[in-house]
Amino acid sequence: MPTLYCLHRAALYAAVFGIAAVSTARAEEIIIGAATAQTGGLAPYDQPALAGLRMAFDELNAKGGLAGKYTVKLVIKDTRSDTAQTATVAQELIDAGAKIMITPCDADPSISAGQLTQPLGIPTLTLCGSAPVLTAAVGDVMFGTYPADNVQATAVADFAISEGKKKVFLLTSPDSTYTANLPEYFGKVFEKKGGAIAGRGTYTMGQPDFSAEITNIKGLADQPDLIMTAAYEPDFPAFIQQLRGAGVTIPVYGADAIGTPTIKGLGKLVDGVVYTAAGYAEPGSKLEAFNAAFTKYAGHAPESTYEVNGYEIGLILDQAVKTAGSDDPKAVRDAIAGLKDFEGITGKITYAGTDRMPLRPVALMRYEGGEGKHIQTMIPDAADVPAP
């Protein structure tokens, strides 16, 4: 009996110390779940953003992790650009112990993941989802990181007005929040500042043929002097190819989703197209230094500003854990929500006082001769930004 008792006790001690040993190891590690698209239509946006985020975590881990003590274990799962699959993957990540969730570059899958993280209080950040309705649709754990659609649209509208544009044609697609709402935000600001909406058209994402819509534009009695759309790949190249092919030379403006190598690769076809970015690498700027560091890290230059945006998410989380003093999800959430004038790479980022869509600068860019040229960087007047 005593021998057996001893054995039992030994086993018990071993178990207790074993658990203790495991839990101390765990205490130093924070699991961050990334439910992001490795395949499908969102992959070209999620992958660059995720590359930036990984770079941030690698650098932070080399210095001990978030706030210098929580080593980040990034668990990545593929959503296949599918909203339902995003929810499945998010649940798997939660089960794996994720304390922070990263979601794809689009409102709809981000909301589906947010439905799961909200009841558990897990802070959730979308990589570059920019629909301002996104945070309110989920609740207080959901954060945008990229300049919101209504902010971007205001910046583009301000610029169009300053150029003397008077009449705009809005091309929208009801298939996603981004493509449906961004041009309408533009329209609101444009009208408020004296412009007029000359007409509206819609398309289906993945639609092969824009000729009917383009013929409608050509047939407008009141010809617009600008076409505003949030169409992106592969719809944007198709639209502009067919528009120019039909002999229409009206300028086309868009937003962040067309600031990509694919669109740039269209060369002369996209001359004069205005788009937005999260920042512009002026000589000597932090962004220029980041671009150099990223090139060294990834072996290729950043494709867009999604990389730096992903990197800044890492910095935001680091700062939030520092402020919170722990990796408690609730405390981290509160810390992110309270960020004010946080020095990112592209400029100052503020969450305090917002609906969890950050206030941050928007860079206006224009394609000229196959290159993205910087026009100006601005933070639109908050009073001008239309409500989501």
């Binding site: 070209p44 058209g201 000729s211 009917a212 013929t215 790949e233 190819q241 120019r244």
Partner: protein
């Protein structure tokens, strides 16, 4: 403006007709709806891009791309479908889905998930005036190429021995084999033709879209399937009729629907398809011998 919309409709309908024909040719012989047909287009698109990157002149690049589509179709038959020769129609269908998914992943992981821009020559985005309306060069090429391809195919099927054998095989394959014509050659030719049509359709598709991406085959194969079903599965004239009908309906709806109803465009088109099938369950121009399905 109505004339303009008719040109748009014919141009889109022509591309759909080429696609539907590609599906129908294979279906008429082997009873397989090849859902990997779209990936043949994707492959041709990437081949065009590669040829242009390597500095081939544009016409040569197009030739290379179309041949790639045709060869890939033959290879696909040899690797994936020939071992399944005696399998059920369902197994063949599932095999075609498997090939399609596999190729998509290969494109995504092997090339890039991001669409690649294809710089079309400047003259293709031009337009010329004709009377009081302008016709784009792109749609015109689309119409001419579709028409030529349809005529060439018709001549091939009517005037050559292989063509005649193929038409006969579509009616009764066993009798054709009894006449001493090798089944493998007929089937391989069917795939070759379907690959050629996919390659041509891909060129027209890419010319209109200015980019290629790993998933670009999905929409066209879906449209082709709808067109082939409306026209009458396995019937070649039916596929052409179905393709043009689909293109015309799509463009007319896009042109005339008020903005509030426009998002329901695809639903309306598909309802129209159901209506056609209710009236003519075998399609507009049924095949001579209806295949098992």
């Amino acid at each position: 403006m109505i004339a303009q919309q008719i040109i748009n409709a014919v141009s889109l309908g022509g591309v759909y007709a080429l696609l539907a024909l590609g599906l129908a040719i294979v279906f008429s012989i082997v009873g397989l709806i090849n859902f990997a047909h779209g990936e043949l287009m994707t492959l041709s698109g990437y081949a065009l891009l590669a040829a242009l990157v390597f500095g081939l002149p544009f016409p040569l690049a197009v030739l290379v791309a179309v041949s790639c589509g045709a060869l890939a179709a033959v290879a696909m038959e040899r690797v994936a479908f020939r071992p399944m020769r005696d399998a059920s129609v369902t197994s063949l269908l599932l095999t075609s889905f498997a090939v399609s998914s596999l190729l998509k992943v290969v494109f995504q992981n092997g090339i890039s998930a991001r669409p690649q821009a294809v710089a079309m020559p400047g003259w293709m985005t031009g337009a010329f005036s004709f009377g009081d309306f302008t016709i784009g060069v792109g749609p015109s090429i689309s119409i001419v190429v579709s028409a030529l391809a349809l005529i060439a195919l018709e001549l091939f099927l009517r005037r050559t021995v292989t063509g005649t054998a193929m038409r006969a095989a579509a009616e009764d394959f066993n009798v054709v084999r009894l006449m001493g014509i090798p089944a493998s050659r007929i089937i391989a030719t069917a795939f070759l033709l379907s690959g050629l049509l996919a390659g041509l359709a891909a060129m027209l598709w890419v010319a209109q879209r200015a980019s290629v991406d790993p998933l670009m085959g999905f929409t066209p194969v879906l449209k082709a399937f709808i067109a082939a079903v409306v026209g009458g599965l396995g019937s070649l004239p039916g596929a052409v009729a179905g393709g043009f009908l689909l293109g015309i309906i799509e463009v007319l709806l896009q042109a005339t629907l008020p903005a509030a109803v426009a998002p329901y465009r695809d639903a309306i088109v598909l309802s129209g398809v159901i209506a056609v099938l209710l009236v003519r369950p075998q399609g507009l121009i049924p095949a001579v011998r209806v295949q098992r399905s």
